[in-house]
């Protein structure tokens, strides 16, 4: 029953609320009980339980109680931060927790969080039968009730569309060119997402069958009537170009156009001023780039944005870079110059650059060393004895 792996903030918050002045006696009792419950459970008991029982089962009452605690804790948190408890959203909660419990941990999932129990505890199926031990769902005895119910509904929709078509044909209004179904930029749910939605495991064969049937539905002429049913099983993709921030094109006192931007890679940070002078001279930290990057590879990295867009020799670069090694500094400069170049380019060229990967910051960072191993991946030499 005690939640060992997940730190719900409700518990710790309860403890901190203990220390603060505004206190409800019932609340403190409840939190002390909860805390007491957690402390009582010993490590040995945990080990035994985990081996035998498999994944933990949370009852509906437990989830409900957690939800109540979460709401109360949310109001306390709003009070603490001096904001209105009524209009305290999840973003506000995240912000407040990050402020109250600053964490330097690298893994985002390891940091303190406070979310609604629905998001934290994995969705589990409630008991599927009643007191008389008769199952609720009519497809219970198929074994995959949710999957088959979706397929059944899908087929029902197809029949409905065909009936509608017959109806129109009878009236004489049937036409081939009708308004197409508008799905926007979306894709079908993956197998994992579908499993999460239906709270049931699905085999690959079943998933393919489902997708096949959906595609068949979309191929029917009058499927636009069932668009909301279809969209329930599609995920919207965000258009990446909508998020591009193009740096400003400024002009200095001599009328020369220039733009500034930053870039980073691993632990290097740099800032670049790109001037449209036509001389092609590059200065890094006050030194000539030939002297700062004696290696050809680094200079090639620096050259790549210009070479790709065909703007070699047109621009002047003035850069400051710090941190990291020579390769990561070169990568950071490349990113910064690509971003700065955006303000001189058209939309199509900018899209080309994005597809070439010039505008994507490289997410690779040094992996941490784990205890019990020599490095991030390398294990100690295995000795037989």
């Amino acid at each position: 029953m005690a939640v060992s792996c997940v730190r719900t903030m409700g518990l710790v918050l309860g403890k901190s609320v203990n220390c603060s002045s505004s206190l409800d006696a019932v609340m403190s009792q409840l939190s002390r009980q909860v805390l007491g419950r957690q402390i009582c459970v010993s490590c040995a008991l945990h080990r035994k339980n985990l081996a035998a029982a498999g994944p933990e089962k949370f009852t509906v009452e437990f989830i409900q109680k957690q939800a109540e605690e979460f709401n109360i804790g949310k109001r306390h948190l709003a009070n603490m931060m001096g904001e209105d408890p009524e209009s305290f959203t999840q973003e506000d909660i995240d912000r407040s927790i990050a402020y109250l419990f600053p964490s330097g941990l690298f893994d985002k999932k390891a940091r303190p969080l406070m979310k609604h129990p629905e998001e934290i505890f994995p969705k589990q199926r409630a008991i599927q039968w009643g007191a008389d031990r008769r199952p609720f769902h009519f497809l219970f005895y198929t074994g995959k009730q949710m999957y088959y119910s979706v397929m059944h509904e899908l087929y029902g929709k197809m029949l409905k569309i065909e009936k509608y078509q017959d109806h129109l044909r009878a009236k004489g209004l049937f036409s081939q060119d009708v308004k197409q179904i508008s799905l926007g930029t979306s894709r079908w749910f993956t197998k994992e997402e579908l499993e999460a939605l239906l709270v049931e495991t699905i085999s690959t064969h079943d998933y393919n069958h489902f997708i096949q049937l959906m595609e068949r539905l979309l191929s029917l002429p009058y499927c636009a009537t069932e668009v909301e049913f279809v969209l329930r099983y599609r995920r919207q993709l965000e258009a990446p170009s909508a998020k591009r921030i193009v740096p400003l094109l400024q002009r200095d006192e001599w009328g020369v156009a220039f733009s500034t931007s930053d870039g980073c890679r691993k632990t290097s940070n740099c800032s670049v001023v790109l001037r449209e002078c036509g001389s092609g001279c590059i200065t890094i930290n006050g030194q000539n780039y030939l002297h700062y990057f004696p290696t050809l590879q680094d200079r090639e990295q620096l050259m790549f944005p210009f070479q790709f867009t065909g703007m070699l020799g047109r621009f002047d670069l003035e850069c400051t870079v710090s941190g990291g090694g020579r390769s990561s500094q070169a990568g950071a400069l490349r990113l910064a110059t690509s971003r700065a170049l955006l303000s001189f380019l058209s939309e199509r060229e900018a899209e080309n650059m994005r597809q070439a990967g010039l505008l994507t910051p490289d997410p690779r960072v040094r992996e941490r060393k784990k205890p019990g191993q020599e490095g991030a991946r390398r294990k100690f030499t295995w000795n037989k004895r």
């Binding site: 092609g280 030939l290 050809l296 200079r299 050259m303 070479q307 065909g310 070699l312 020799g313």
Partner: protein, 395 residues
Amino acid sequence: MALQRLTFRLRQTVTHVRSLHTSGCTQQQEAVAVESQPEPFSVFRTQENDPGCQTEKHIGQHYTLPSAHINTLFPHGLPWRFKQRVKTFNEACMMVRQPALEVISYLKKTDFSKPALRYLFYGPKGTGKTMSLCHTVHFCYTQGWLVLHVPDAHLWVKNCKELLPSSYNSSRFDQPLQAAEWLRNFRITSEQFLSKIKTKQRYVWTKRESTEEGSPLGQLVDQGISRVKCSSDVVGAVMKELRLQSGQPESNFHLAVAVDGVNALWGRSTIMKQDKSAMDPGELTLVYNLRKLMQNDWIGGAIITALSQTGSLYTPKSVYLPQELLGERGFDYMDPFIPASVSNYSEKEFESCCLYYMDRHWLQHPQSQTEEGKKEIIFLSNRNPRMLERICAFL
């Protein structure tokens, strides 16, 4: 590449002219062919192979060094990569550049009755200081001067395998191997002068060996090469004789002292004495004698030097100015001197270099011959001669 097309067109006219068969006027045809012959390569190559006759309009063009000159004059003087290039292309082509031309013009106007002037080539790494020095040395050679060329003074202050206490002066140290090698090369460069110059003093090497007054310099040099133990003192003696005799009315030679990496003479050395204490370069006989030669108290010649950071010890990579590389002592010693700054290629020189490589079929990559490729090469090398050469080596 309009220039390239021009040369191709002219080459075609030459072959066309040559292929005409005529019985009576073959001589006329030959005359015409000879006339149009110099034109095809005039953009990056010049036929003016005498450094004395080269002027500003030859700047950026390559001239060929005759192989006979190279064997006599440069047994040890040329940079290693240049020697490889000469071997690959079967010809030694050097670019005429402004700093070298400037120094050559001053050399043409030297007054041999005044003390020797000191010229110093300086500049960032890889811009062509050593090559300019070699160009000037070639000029001196064609004018009939006696050239005393020390290819790299840094070789004398590091990696010394054998160090002997000097017999002449007990506080100094000898380097027999380096001295003997230098004497061997000196013998090759100054073949014609060795029999003409006579020593003015008697030198005693050991109880049984000595060089009498009035013996030819060649004998002195041979003594140093055969008796390696006293070769450093021989070097000192040679330098002293030449210094005293140049500019005298009876000796009809002019002395050109060319030293590359002159900042080694006043820098630090990695050679350690027996008790592991650091050695000051002034305690080495060779360096001591060379320093005396650097002094402008002799007449009848010139001193041409070049700085070098590449081989220097304990200097940061970014320094290239004379003050920083020579140090205080060196600068005071060399002051006053005439500086000549050597910098990266200009656009014209860069174009000329690329045309030369294309003519020699050195640039094999198809992209490297287009305009875009040129721009990329300019970016990657920043028109630095050494970088350009290294990049083009694998294109």
